[in-house]
Amino acid sequence: MTINFLINLSYIVAAILFVLGLKKLGSPATARQGNLISAVGMLIAVVATLGGKGLLPWTYIIAGFVIGSAIGAFAARKVEMTGMPELVALFNGFGGAASLLVGWVATYAAGNSTFINVTIILSILIGGVTLTGSIIAWAKLSERMPTKALMFTGQQIFNVLLVLAILGSAVMFCIEPSNPVWLWAILGLSLLFGIMAVIPIGGADMPVVIALLNSYSGLAACAAGFVLHNNLLIVAGALVGASGIILTNIMCKAMNRSLSNVLFSGFGSAVTSSTKVEGEVKPITADDAYLIMEAARSVVFVPGYGMAVAQAQHVVKELADHLESNGAEVKFAIHPVAGRMPGHMNVLLAEASVPYDQLVEMDDINPQLPNVDLAVVIGANDVVNPAANKDKGSPLYGMPVIRVDEARTVFVLKRSMGSGFSGVDNPLFVGDNTRMLFGDAKQSLSHIVGEFKS
């Protein structure tokens, strides 16, 4: 009794520390401390649990800790910042798998009530969907499988049958919990359902999928908390669940699409624009670009994922430093879907030592752009497409974009003419105030940096 009391008391402390940790994530200045506080909460929860009764045999516990810590620490140290979406996708999957296993273990306990059985099913179902869904998302992100939406005839009928089969097995499991057939059916069908849910989603929509799976991994922990009557699992799982849902919602809004449209429509496979872009492209050389940059008093960089692919963020930072010492005000405008997961571009720029007070969100930079001398678009396309504001025939119409066309001059750094991820033409490229700087972004920028130095 007293041991149990103490354990639950430390669970309250752990919950408080999780909440405080997330609160400190409200500002980049306190975020690192917040993460540490959250980790201390986790340590307290684990140590308290180890002091209680009914534990696994110590050999299993130690083996689990050693293997898990080794893999976790290795992955956390080795991962490149560009590979962060893949890592988060995999971690989501592991979290789901752990909850699935906890639900599975609970089926072997004698005398489970129907309520417990229902929560066991939820734990296995959500955990299983999170596991295989995340593996597919990881494979698509790392291009280990085709990134395009995978559709086949009868897919919807198959999915409806799959859901019915899961419901049927769930009911049978509650009626006959001792018959292992239903447990195996739920396990297998849940894993299959995760695969079926993610394969029809295109690679460009993976940011939304990871955010959603992040939420599921939390909800799976919640379900496991119901199985074990553990408040801490419910509280922590709910916090993660809420976080994933908010991020999913932000991503969907930034793409001007509903969640059901992302999940079921197979966008990203083929889009045709109804209006043709006509006009003259005005190229510029790096030497001329330097002259304009030198004269500019305010410069806004608009990076897209193409910048990270070209590993150009470091030379961009160098150029920004030269512009600043030349007296210009420099900012970086970040679209919510720049990069391959929420906030990805900010991390990539932070890695290149760009201070976080120079990173400006889309809604804050847009009103300032008419007063900006020069906007430099690097490896971004759809997120600066003015057709999203002006052309009702464009598939992007209604999507919030960074309105670089309102700046006095726009440079677009691009390898060649061609459309973006969505395959939509971009009228920005033929704008009166737009100059195209063709070629490898890194080389062009290095050239300009060289001119600043000389």
């Binding site: 993460n35 180890l50 516990i61 752990a98 199985v227 976080s243 997961m341």
Partner: protein, 94 residues
């Protein structure tokens, strides 16, 4: 009654989560995701005790429980470490 009591906690926690997370700036959304990965590793606490009520099939339950401990520990250790690594890079202008 137990079901109601647990649901009560769930509902309040979700509302708390919405309040907390909506204050996190977009700049920190990637560390937020990896950090919440680590928090969802709280399942490790459940994995440690899940087999307590198992009488028959103990061997299987222990193996599954041990695997759950390992998977959740990957989340906890990897999640907190990678989040710290990222947050250390966010610097203010000198």
């Amino acid at each position: 009654m137990e079901a109601i009591y647990l649901s009560f906690i769930l509902v309040l926690s979700i509302f708390l989560g919405f309040e907390l997370i909506s204050k996190v700036p977009a700049t920190l959304h990637t560390p937020l995701m990896s950090g919440s990965n680590a928090i969802s590793g709280i399942t490790v606490v459940g994995a440690l005790t899940a087999a307590a009520a198992v009488v028959e099939n103990q061997q299987i339950a222990h193996i599954l429980g041990g695997a759950a401990v390992a998977l959740a520990t990957i989340n906890v250790v990897g999640g907190y470490m990678v989040t710290d690594r990222m947050l250390a890079m966010f610097k203010k202008k000198q």
